[in-house]
């Protein structure tokens, strides 16, 4: 199973589905599904393999290299599985849209390029795939037209800023070391001067922070998440955004190495402290902004920004525990955010694209599978014990507390508590409460949507109850970075300062539930009643809008809304306006009058002569 073959399958699948779409549209969808599932299956066979092979020599004399190791495999596996699920989900979702061939092409291309990124063994191929990912995503984000154009624009401009800064960083590596081969660089770079390392971190950091939506470089994300097709949100939010995490791991732990990276800078202004604080700010601010959102996808978008902060917090301190937490959280977040977006997507699909939280409600009765998906999704997001999010968050908190950063831990924890509020809002506004009249006849989500949701729900529980499965893989990654191995058991992590043992919790919860259920059963059976049959102090119950959603946490909103606004987003918009003005100002230079133009020519000449005569500068 060579890596070239994998990438050929990935990219070839993308192009072929486009062609099939043009030639015979009936087999396009099955083909896309089969190719992406096949990719996931092939990926599974790569488990535990380590290899490296140059696949192309034609680029400016730089060999392009593919390599795989545990880190790459871990990300690749997640990408391919989530990609396959997203493709399955898309089957019905985009069926009736325009330009579906284009959609599939870009979706599969984005997936394939992500695989390319994680398998890239040198920076050129890394960058190439990175850019392919950027523009294919740009085209997909803009796919919905209308407001999506602005979102796509934001995304691509920030992406270009990121890639530009990465380009500078990577080429400065090339200029100094004469190679872009990651394995070679990881031997050479650690001996560089601190200043240079900081320079590298800043440049690469900008690129990865933009992709990972770390504040203050997050502005593209909420709009991009909200406006892109919901079926693509899975890919976008699950792994694509987290390529920034992969990048951070790559630059911090693979290239520079923990030994140098963690002691860079003076005192509390160490590089990783600053990174961690940015992560913490990201968590708190975006959590509270998420609380204020009334658009399901905007809410999830802001939530995803905040979750990105957890991952950064996890990896910032370079302990094996935190690293495991950060990487595991990346995976977990991918699983539940994809699930949540799919659930929103299913609702949108059935309600005609409705994603305004204030207009929905009561869909639990019509779309139970989507509800279960959403419930498990938010459980993971909150980190309820026995769901996957709990384990990774536990690891992160524990790192922060034990490393003596209670303020960061506070930020992380308060993020979680805020998260409960918006998660409840999300579930309550869409699925609970009163079912509006117009959605009375809404059908269940089609099977192609239910299937991925069910799978992901099971994954959430699986990783929550048996976290050892992924943690063992992650532990291998950590040891490959040179950290000491964790004591991972199938049920959790054992250590002196607080052990995690999910089986105990699991047993306790099951026992408690059984007991409570028995007690409950002891009483008389509850009578199911209709929706309208509620206590209204004798007043008539209106047919519609008897569902309290608008300004749900009103007192809280009033308290926090002056302080938690997307100031940076506003600033970016202002910046764009200023740029526009400056550009308009500059072009006034071209007045249209020939006399001026000739004057410019003479001026240029006279200036050069004058300078040389006066100062003999040249």
């Amino acid at each position: 199973m060579s890596l070239e073959l994998l990438l050929i399958v990935a990219f070839g699948g993308a192009l072929l589905s486009y062609l099939f779409g043009k030639i015979c549209p009936q087999i396009r969808d099955p083909f896309a599904v089969i190719s992406s599932v096949a990719l996931a299956v092939m990926m599974a066979f790569l488990y535990g393999k380590t290899m490296e092979s140059p696949f192309y020599f034609g680029f400016l004399g730089l060999p392009l290299i593919l390599r795989t190791n545990m880190l790459a495999w871990f990300f690749a596996m997640a990408i391919s599985i989530l990609g396959a699920l997203s493709v399955i989900f898309s089957w019905d979702y985009v069926k009736d849209r325009e330009r579906t061939d284009f959609y599939y092409l870009m979706l599969l291309l984005a997936n394939a390029s992500m695989l390319g990124i994680v398998f890239a063994g040198d920076f050129v191929s890394f960058f190439v795939f990175w850019e392919i990912m950027s523009w294919s995503t740009f085209l997909l984000i803009s796919y919905n037209r209308g407001r999506a154009l602005g979102a796509g624009m934001k995304y691509i401009i920030m992406s270009i800023v990121g890639s530009v800064s990465m380009l500078i960083g990577m080429l400065s590596l090339y200029a100094i070391y004469g190679t872009l081969h990651i394995a070679t660089l990881s031997k050479l770079v650690p001996s560089a001067s601190s200043g240079y390392l900081l320079f590298l971190f800043i440049l690469f950091g900008i690129a990865f922070a933009i992709k990972n939506a770390l504040m203050p470089l997050h502005t593209w994300l909420p709009d991009a998440y909200a406006e892109s097709p919901t079926s693509f949100n899975g890919v976008l939010s699950g792994m694509l955004t987290r390529m920034g995490m992969y990048g951070f791991l790559l630059i911090i732990y693979v290239i520079v190495g923990a030994a140098r990276a963690l002691n860079l800078g003076p005192g509390i202004f160490k590089f990783n402290y600053i990174l961690a604080w940015l992560g913490a700010i990201t968590i708190v601010v975006s959590t509270f902004i998420a609380l204020l959102q009334n658009d399901a996808k905007q809410l999830l978008g802001w939530s995803a920004i905040g979750q990105g902060g957890y991952m950064i917090l996890g990896i910032a301190f370079g302990t094996s525990l935190g690293l495991a937490g950060g990487i595991f959280h990346t995976l977990n977040h991918a699983v539940y955010i994809v699930l949540l977006f799919m659930s929103v997507g299913a609702v949108q699909y059935r309600t005609g694209g409705q994603r305004d939280l204030d207009s929905l409600g009561g869909l639990i009765k019509r779309m139970p599978v989507s509800f279960i998906g959403a419930l498990l999704g938010i459980s993971g997001l909150i980190g309820i014990p026995l769901t996957n999010g709990f384990v990774s968050k536990w690891l992160i908190y524990k790192t922060l507390i034990l490393e003596g950063h209670p303020f960061l831990a506070f930020a992380a924890l308060i993020g979680t508590w805020g998260c409960i509020l918006y998660c409840y809002k999300f579930v309550h506004h869409i699925f609970l409460g009163q079912l509006p009249e117009k959605y009375k006849m809404v059908a269940r989500a089609p099977f192609s949507m239910q299937l991925p949701m069910i799978i992901l729900s099971l994954v959430i529980l699986l990783f929550g109850i048996l976290p050892g499965i992924p943690l063992k893989v992650i532990n291998t990654i950590g040891t490959s970075f040179g950290f000491q191995s964790l004591n991972v058991t199938t049920w959790g992590i054992a250590s002196e300062t607080g052990t995690l043992n999910t089986i105990n919790i699991f047993a306790a919860v099951v026992a408690a539930c059984v007991i409570v259920w028995l007690i409950f059963k002891a009483g008389p059976k509850a009578v199911p009643v209709a929706q309208e049959d509620t206590y209204a102090a004798g007043a008539a119950i209106p047919k519609d809008r008897y569902h309290y959603t608008v300004d749900f946490y009103n007192p809280l909103y009033r308290m926090i809304s002056p302080y938690f606004k997307d100031f940076i987003g506003g600033f970016c918009i202002k910046l764009a306006g200023w740029t526009q003005n400056v550009c308009h100002g500059i072009r006034q230079m071209y007045t249209g009058y020939i006399g001026h133009y000739v004057m410019y020519i003479v001026l240029f000449l006279a200036l050069l002569i004058f300078v040389q005569l006066k100062w003999s500068l040249w």
Partner: protein, 228 residues
């Protein structure tokens, strides 16, 4: 205001150029290249007019370009003014008989003079361009004196093309027979100071003369037509 700025800028330019000119004393130039041409031009090209030998032979490629520039200008002018060509003919008042006859009388004479100039380009001051300009002046005279007369566009085009082609072909033949050099003077040089001397120079100058004459005539034709 602009005038002041302009004056200032120009004075800076003047300052710079004056400084540069210090190194080029007037009237003292005797360059290696010029010396070479004067010294060896006679034998190498067979033309007694060294300027001509420089123009057509040593720097013949420039001249090819120069011809092309004029050609470009003529076509460009035609292209620019082309869209207004299709105008209904306006009645023009005919010139007086004296003028008319005088023009018709002078026309061949001027043509002949022009031809003389370009045919003797390698011997006397003058050459293809000068001769061509004289030829064109004959057409100006016709336009002014015999209003309504036009040269045939096809004919002038053909002459232009042929003139240019002769230049190129003469040059290309050099690749084959003249030692592999473009525009090399492969024809017999003849005796200095005689009409049939200087190899390809007279041929090229004749071609240029025809070409320039017809081009300038064409330019004038276009401009006259436009201004009517």
């Amino acid at each position: 205001m602009r005038a002041i700025i302009s004056l200032f800028l120009i004075s800076v330019l003047a300052w710079g150029i004056a400084t540069a000119l210090n190194e080029i004393p007037f009237g003292a130039a005797k360059t290696k290249v010029g010396e070479y041409y004067i010294g060896r031009g006679k034998e190498q090209t067979g033309a007694s007019n060294i300027v001509t030998s420089v123009v057509v032979n040593y720097r013949g490629f420039d001249t090819l370009g120069e011809v092309t520039v004029l050609f470009v200008a003529a076509i460009g002018l035609g292209a620019v003014l082309a869209t207004r060509r299709k105008k209904e003919k306006r009645d023009v008042e005919p010139a007086s008989l004296v003028l008319y006859t005088g023009c018709r009388l002078l026309f061949p004479l001027i043509l002949l003079f022009g031809a003389y100039i370009f045919i003797h380009g390698h011997l006397t001051p003058g050459g293809g361009f000068q001769g061509g300009a004289v030829v064109a002046s004959a057409f100006v005279l016709v336009y002014l004196g015999c209003r309504g007369r036009r040269i045939s566009e096809t004919a002038s085009k053909t002459v232009e093309s042929l003139g240019g082609l002769v230049f190129i072909v003469v040059g290309l033949v050099g690749l084959a027979v003249g030692g592999g050099y473009f525009l090399s003077n492969y024809l017999p040089k003849g005796e200095l100071n005689s009409l049939f001397s200087a190899g390809i120079i007279p041929i090229i100058y004749i071609a240029i003369g025809f070409k320039v004459g017809s081009e300038l005539a064409g330019v004038i034709d276009h401009l006259v037509e436009e201004s009517e």
